[in-house]
C-alpha cells in the first residue's frame, strides 16, 4: 500500500508514522507537504499529530485552509481512506470532514499517558481486524481532546455506527471515571458516515512496537492493510 503522510508547519508525529508504516509494516510511505495540491497515487492519507500553526485561533483552524486540504477533501469525498490522529483529528473536524468540535481538556492539563480505549465497531476499514471488539492500550498526548457534538448529531452518529473508540477501564467499562478529558460519552475516535474517514485522539503510531510498551496500535494499521488486500 502507498501511504501519504500530510505535513503541516508544526506537525511533529510524521516521523513516527513514517517509521511504523515503512519499517514495521513494510509499506510505501512518503511525506506530502501542506502546499502540495496533489495526493494522487496514494491509497491512504495520514494527518499526523502535532501543533499545526501553533494551535493559533483554534486547533486545526488554520491548517484546515492549507492548499493540500482541498485535495484531501476531494480524496475523502471520493471514498479515499483518511486517518487523522490527534491534531490530524482536530484538522478533520475544522474542515468539516468529521462532525463536532474539540474543546480544552476538562482538567485544563496537557495529558500524555497510556489510556485504554474500547473498540465500538468492527464495521470500519480501521477496525475490521479487531476481532470481537476489545480494548486497546494506546497513548494520548493532547490539551484539546474534549470532543463535543450537538445532541441530535450524536444520536445520528450512534445510529449509524460512527462512534469507533471510547475511553474505558482495562476491563472495557466506558464509565466517566475513565474519561481523561471530558469528551462527550467518553468518545476517543469517530468516523464519517461512509467510514472512510477516521479521527482519533490516541496515537496508534506510538503503540506499534513492543519497545514502546504496547503493540495494540498495530491492529488499526493492519485493519487498513486487510481492507485494501495488502500484506504487512
Amino acid at each position: 500500500m502507498r501511504f501519504g503522510i500530510v505535513m503541516f508547519p508544526g506537525s511533529n508525529c510524521e516521523q513516527d508514522c513514517l517509521h511504523v508504516l515503512r519499517d514495521v509494516l513494510n509499506q510505501d510511505a512518503e511525506y506530502v507537504w501542506h502546499q502540495s495540491s496533489d495526493v494522487s497515487g496514494f491509497d491512504c492519507l495520514v494527518l499526523p499529530g502535532g501543533f499545526s500553526y501553533g494551535d493559533y485561533l483554534r486547533t486545526g483552524a488554520i491548517a484546515r485552509f492549507s492548499p493540500v486540504m482541498k485535495a484531501v477533501e476531494k480524496f475523502a469525498i471520493g471514498g479515499g481512506l483518511v486517518i487523522g490522529i490527534c491534531n490530524g483529528f482536530q484538522i478533520l473536524l475544522e474542515a468539516g470532514l468529521l462532525p463536532g468540535a474539540m474543546m480544552r481538556n476538562v482538567g485544563l492539563k496537557f495529558i500524555c499517558r497510556f489510556v485504554d480505549i474500547r473498540v465500538e465497531t468492527v464495521n470500519t476499514p480501521w477496525t475490521r481486524s479487531c476481532a470481537g471488539g476489545g480494548v486497546l492500550e494506546i497513548p494520548i498526548a493532547h490539551n484539546e481532546g474534549n470532543y463535543q457534538v450537538p445532541a441530535g448529531t450524536l444520536e445520528e452518529m450512534k445510529r449509524r455506527g460512527q462512534i469507533v473508540f471510547r475511553y474505558c477501564s482495562p476491563e472495557g467499562s466506558a464509565h466517566p471515571d475513565f474519561n481523561p478529558n471530558g469528551s462527550i460519552e467518553n468518545i476517543a475516535g469517530i468516523c464519517n458516515q461512509e467510514g472512510n474517514v477516521l479521527g482519533m485522539m490516541p496515537h496508534p503510531e506510538r503503540a506499534s512496537e513492543l519497545e514502546l510498551g504496547s503493540t495494540d496500535g498495530l491492529v488499526i494499521w493492519r485493519s487498513i492493510l486487510a481492507h485494501c488486500g495488502a500484506r504487512a
Binding site: 485561533l57 462532525p99 474543546m103 476538562v106 485544563l108 474534549n146 463535543q148
Partner: protein, 81 residues
C-alpha cells in the same frame, strides 16, 4: 479607516473548562457573588480603504469561515467607519 471588533463566545450549553476554573479561583479569592463566568475571544480588525463595499457581509463570512467555529461558538461584530 474602517475598523471592526469581533466577539467570539461559547454557545450556551457548551461546557467551558477555562471559565469554570477561573470562576473557582474568584470564589477562593473571596468573590462568592460571581455566579458564572465564560471565556471568549476578542478580535480587532482594521480594513484598507480600497474595499469598503459589503464590509459587514464580508466580515460575517470571515466569522463563519474561520474566526468562529459555528459548532461550538457564536460571534458578534461591531463595525466602525
Amino acid at each position: 479607516m474602517a475598523q471592526a471588533r469581533v466577539y467570539v463566545t461559547l454557545k450556551e450549553g457548551i461546557l467551558d473548562p477555562q471559565g469554570k476554573t477561573v470562576l473557582r479561583a474568584l470564589h477562593s479569592l473571596g468573590f462568592p457573588e460571581v455566579e458564572d463566568l465564560r471565556i471568549g475571544k476578542y478580535m480587532e480588525l482594521k480594513f484598507t480603504d480600497s474595499r469598503k463595499e459589503n464590509l459587514e457581509e464580508r466580515l460575517s463570512e470571515m466569522c463563519e469561515r474561520i474566526l468562529a467555529n459555528p459548532v461550538i461558538e457564536n460571534y458578534r461584530m461591531e463595525v466602525e467607519d
